[in-house]
């Protein structure tokens, strides 16, 4: 798996989604700085989540001889439903604050897209 490449793409996607939803209200002078600085925590959070919840599934199932497509079709539906459930719970419990909508939407979209990137990887 091309982990570095996928993590980089995921980080950019997460930041993009997050700032599209939440960053539009900031003053432009703060905005550039905030976006740049935000890449650090976003990279750490995205990497941690992706490595621990997506890569680990591929690593474990690789030993059972399943192809990446099979792993995707077998586990992604439940993963998507579970993450969506957490995201919905997080958004509702924070009373639909913009930050939580941005954070959880970003997390759901990024992890779902990461599954596709990892499953599409031909390199084992």
């Amino acid at each position: 798996m091309n982990i570095r490449n996928n993590l980089a793409k995921s980080c950019v996607l997460a930041a993009l989604v997050f700032w599209i939803i939440t960053g539009l209200g900031f003053e432009e002078s703060n905005m550039v700085l905030l976006v740049l600085v935000s890449f650090i925590p976003i990279f750490f959070i995205a990497s941690l989540v992706i490595l621990s919840t997506i890569c680990s599934v591929f690593w474990i199932t690789e030993k059972n001889g399943l192809s990446k497509t099979q792993v995707y079709k077998r586990y992604f539906p439940y993963y998507a439903i579970f993450t969506f459930g957490i995201a919905a719970f997080g958004i509702i419990s924070t009373n639909f604050s913009i930050f939580s909508i941005a954070f959880f939407s970003s997390a759901f979209i990024t992890t779902s897209q990461s599954w596709i990137w990892f499953a599409k990887n031909k390199q084992v």
Binding site: Y72, R74, P77, I81, S112, W115, I116, A119, K120
Partner: protein
């Protein structure tokens, strides 16, 4: 054309739901959803199963408008997922409908994106779009233009003034994002997908048990003996329990709230444990070849008796709960107990059918899930706040007025109409008056998207007065 339909639906989605409470919008959304589903999957809508679930979904949409309750919203959402699941694969169990419906609604886009990348057409070079080049074409000039605009702003006051006049405030970005969410949702449901493994496994599984090729009669005989003895003793025990319970009901004063409350809650706990153990024991003994064993008549007889005695136990709990209700009024918890008792009864009846007709465990899951779904839709059609208030004020021997006032505004009109006919303090009468005023102002302030039947009723009342 297909994209245009989805875009129109997504704009309607924003118009209906952006910064609005649930009401007429959910009912209209249901109709739009059926339209979009039918447009993309016309062949699926020629099937009776799909038509039936479309009708159920429409009924729940009407119920949302009429009742305007959380339960009706939950029933509408359940019917939404069920309908999408039916369009996805109509021959599966109802819980697979829910799974497929849920998966389609939340991740259909990602699934199709992955599937598309797997098809050969997608890898043909002539159809590939050079996204990197496209991004460069748009992104790089945009970044440089923004940087230079910011530099020039400081160098020329007239240019600065011109740039300052550029104002995009007329665009509501959040409304646009909400439309994107609507587009995502309608794009997902336009072509329902399946959780393949679960769907295939469910399609392969029938409701019937199959006989093994090699049956050990000795093993079955021992198992039958154990089952008959165990269920026989449990029958004896439950008979003693039921007799003592009836005697207790006849000989003791159970008009005290605390006694009745203890009786009902204790009875429910007993019932939960008893029914779960009963079903597990029955499922264990009738899991396989014992169903086909010629000498299993005694075991079947004690099993049927065990089920019937559990039904008697349910009836006793229902009587206690009803006594509790008639003495101290109806509440949501007491209705919940009745619903639980009914569901338990259904569980026992389906277990009875399972043993009688030699069905498997999946049969139980399928039938019970179907009944639970039907019950949800039926229960959502009732205005429970009104029912509770009406029962307590007209039939119950005693009631808690504070509880009735704290219910949602769906009983405000009834409370207001009855406030002078019941004996309550002036403070509570004032609270009812305030609740009624609050109800009127809430209903009148609603936007058209949030309308419910209350708006029509209120409008009608105002005209007739």
């Amino acid at each position: 054309m297909k994209h245009i339909i989805t875009i129109i639906a997504s704009l309607a989605f924003s118009t209906l739901f952006y910064e609005k409470h649930i009401g007429l919008n959910l009912s209209i959304f249901s109709i739009i959803t059926i339209g979009v589903l039918a447009f993309y999957n016309l062949s699926a809508f020629k099937n009776k199963q799909t038509i039936l679930h479309t009708f159920i979904y429409l009924v729940t949409a009407v119920i949302v408008f009429m009742q305007h309750s959380y339960l009706s919203i939950i029933a509408n959402c359940a019917a939404f997922f069920t309908l999408i699941g039916v369009v996805s694969q109509r021959d599966t169990s109802v819980y697979i409908y829910w799974l497929n419906g849920l998966y389609t609604s939340i991740a259909g886009f990602f699934h199709r994106n992955f599937e598309a990348s797997q098809t050969k057409e997608q890898v043909k070079p002539k159809k590939e779009i050079d996204w990197i080049h496209l991004t460069k074409l748009v992104g790089i000039p945009l970044v440089f233009i923004i940087v230079f605009v910011m530099l020039y702003k400081n160098g020329n006051p007239m240019f600065n003034n011109l740039v300052s006049q550029i104002n995009f405030n007329f665009i509501n970005i959040q409304w646009v994002l909400f439309s994107v969410l609507g587009y995502y949702l309608f794009s997902n449901i336009s072509k329902p997908i399946q959780v393949e493994q679960a769907t295939l496994a469910d399609l392969k599984t029938t409701n019937h048990l199959n006989k093994s090729e090699h049956i050990s009669e000795e093993k079955l005989k021992k198992e039958k003996q154990l089952g008959t003895l165990l269920l026989g003793l449990l029958n004896l025990l439950i008979v003693i329990y039921i007799i003592t319970d009836i005697l207790y009901l006849k000989t003791h004063d159970i008009t005290k709230a605390s006694t009745l409350s203890y009786q009902v809650h204790n009875g429910i706990n007993t019932l939960i444990a008893s029914i779960i153990i009963a079903i597990i024991i029955i499922l264990y003994f009738f899991r396989g070849d014992l169903n086909f064993y010629v000498n299993n008549k005694n075991l079947k007889a004690v099993t049927y008796l065990w089920i019937i005695l559990n039904i008697v136990l349910i009836a006793l709990i229902a009587i206690k709960n009803q006594n509790y209700i008639s003495s101290f009024g109806l509440t949501y918890k007491r209705i919940g107990v009745h619903v639980y008792i009914f569901l338990t009864l259904i569980g026992l009846v389906t277990t009875f059918i399972k043993v009688l007709n030699i069905k498997n465990l999946i049969f139980l899951f399928r039938k019970n899930a179907q009944i639970a779904f039907a019950l949800l839709v039926i229960l959502s059609a009732i205005n429970w706040d009104y029912t509770i208030t009406n029962y307590n004020l007209t039939k119950a021997k005693a009631y808690d007025i504070d509880y009735l006032i704290k219910l949602t505004n769906r009983n405000a009109v009834l409370l207001h109409n009855k406030k002078d006919d019941i004996i309550i303090s002036n403070a509570n009468r004032l609270r009812i008056e305030n609740k009624y005023r609050n109800y009127l102002s809430t209903v009148r302030q609603r936007d058209w998207q949030e309308w419910s039947y209350d708006n029509i009723a209120l409008d009608h009342n105002t005209r007739t007065k």
